[in-house]
Amino acid sequence: MIEALMNAAPAWALTHAAPLLVMVPLFLAPLLALMPSGRIAWLMAVITTGISFCFALILLGLVQTSPIGVVSYEVGRWPVPLGIELRVDALNAMILLVVTTIGLLATVFSWPTVVAEINKDKRALFYSAFLVCFAGLNGVAITGDAFNLFVFLEISSISTYVLVALGAGRDRRALPAAFNYLIMGTIGASFYIIGIGFLYAATGTLNMHDIATRLPELAGHRSVQAGFAFILVGLGLKAAMWPLHQWLPNAYSYSPSFVTMFLSATATKVALYALIRFLFTIFRPDYAFEISAFSAVLMPLGLAAMVVCSFQAVFQNDVRRILAYSSVAQVGYMILGVSIGTTAGLSAGLFHLLNHAMMKGALFMAVAGVVLTYQGTTIRDFAGLGRSAPWTMTAFAIAALSLIGVPLTAGFQSKLQLGFALFDQGMWWAVALVVFSSFLAVIYMGRVLEAVFFQPPANPRKARKEAPILMLVPLWILALANIYFGIAADLPLGLARDAAAAAFGVEAFR
């Protein structure tokens, strides 16, 4: 597929794939704001995300065929340490692929929910904001410049606050949630920029690659360590690392369904990518302060997230909140994988990132379908839906099983990899905690599934009513992907392994 696309693509698309991936949505976002009709805006958003998706595939192909495994692009042909560099290797090629794939599916899927949840005169603006967010996330993933990363992070975050606040049409609590998110997100971003300031003070450069080459002789430098701490906490907050996750449950619960679905599968992933980029490529995992941060901060926090947030999910009654807390727990798995500090651990974390995007995407899509047809998200509202909306709920069940980690699903594969990586380090007790957390997942997803399939409908008037076909198709694509990649995991696992190798700066994927 990638080869075919690369052969078909014109030469300019190959050379300029990196900036086009970000700039096409960014250019079209204001155009969308001018559109008179929401439907046209939607169509254009679909096309735009589709184009970005193609560019992401092309970039992946370029990275895989490149002899050094890196595609570098100098914006405005300014030489590298001065100008902004877009730098793509296997790690961010993978992230770009996730963001654009989910973005495309989510946009296709979104129209019915947007019609139901957003005022008519705001739909075009809504899609405009979405494209800005989409472009920002891609920008974070693609840039090779630490300050530029901050800019894109803020572009995506600010548009996200807007998107979350637009949920006010359905639930007024979206407004405080968005405000809360704004405050927290700004703290995170400020921490990050302070950290960059420290690094700039020590190294005198903002280009990530350049920082990385200059750091080894500065490893004992206080401002480097301070910068490390600020960046770790700032990006950790953006990535919803426990206990800095408290903006997430509300933001995910009250925003429009489409936004929830898109953000849950991409936003924290991109922030986590940035964190990984800093932890592994810019700082090295063999720096003393990083080793201690791994073992004394990231790993305990990851484990705590897995367990505590799973517990919290168990006691929720709103399905979206269950899934939101579960997201924090899943981020915990990824952080755990990262904190092992080995290639195997990192690739397990990245692999879980991929799979989590698939399963959470599918789960929130199904929930969005229910919100659309039945206007409710509590477990009680889900009762008996297995009978009235079998297609939606079967997909939901598949993704839920994947979230639990049942064999033959993607979720199982990633937990398996995580287990292998932990065993490598002899940390079988951590494996036990992973297992325990999966056990909790059985409980919280089991509660929903039980209601869906075994309880009589709470409201007997609910007729057989599926989500529209426009929503079912992306939903089922993701659900089937969960099964397909649960059986043949080679493709995503290969991507994750390449990405982990690239993060370490090892060209092991050749």
Partner: protein, 147 residues
């Protein structure tokens, strides 16, 4: 097929019919719901004093079983199994012990049927005419939130 005459065929037919009738009779319970076959097979258990008879017959059988041992010594791998009457006595003791232990254990471990708070009736799909099915509450779905 080997019989050419009509007569023979009639006979066969009548035989089959008769057989079918008797089978049917054997399988049709009486007014009181008693299966005729049970009269044939287990009628003897209703005889008066059957308990006594069984008891004495078994006592005699046991005595015979034990006494045979004195005439036929065994060569088992485990020495103690060679003593006369070992298997019989061990069986008797074990059986009695298991049963007698039922008294204290029953007091210790038996709880009310609804101890775990979820006692419910027979499973889905039993015979709709089952007499005990309506005695307990009808199958119902669990409600959300408890247990």
């Amino acid at each position: 097929m080997s019989d050419p005459t009509d007569n023979g065929r009639d006979d066969t037919g009548r035989f089959v019919k008769r057989a079918a009738e008797s089978v049917h009779k054997l399988n049709t319970p009486s007014e009181e719901g008693i299966h005729p076959l049970s009269q044939i097979l287990f009628g003897w258990t209703h005889t008066k004093g059957i308990g006594n008879i069984i008891f004495w017959v078994l006592l005699a059988l046991s005595a015979i079983m034990l006494s045979i041992d004195f005439f036929f010594p065994r060569q088992d791998y485990l020495k103690f199994a060679n003593y006369a009457g070992f298997y019989g006595i061990w069986g008797f003791v074990c059986f009695s012990f298991a049963v007698i232990m039922g008294w204290p254990l029953g007091h210790l471990l038996r709880r009310d049927e609804n101890y775990y708070g979820d006692a419910s009736g027979p499973p889905y799909g039993v015979d709709p005419d089952a007499p005990m099915a309506d005695e307990a509450t009808a199958p119902h779905h669990s409600s959300e939130g408890d247990a």
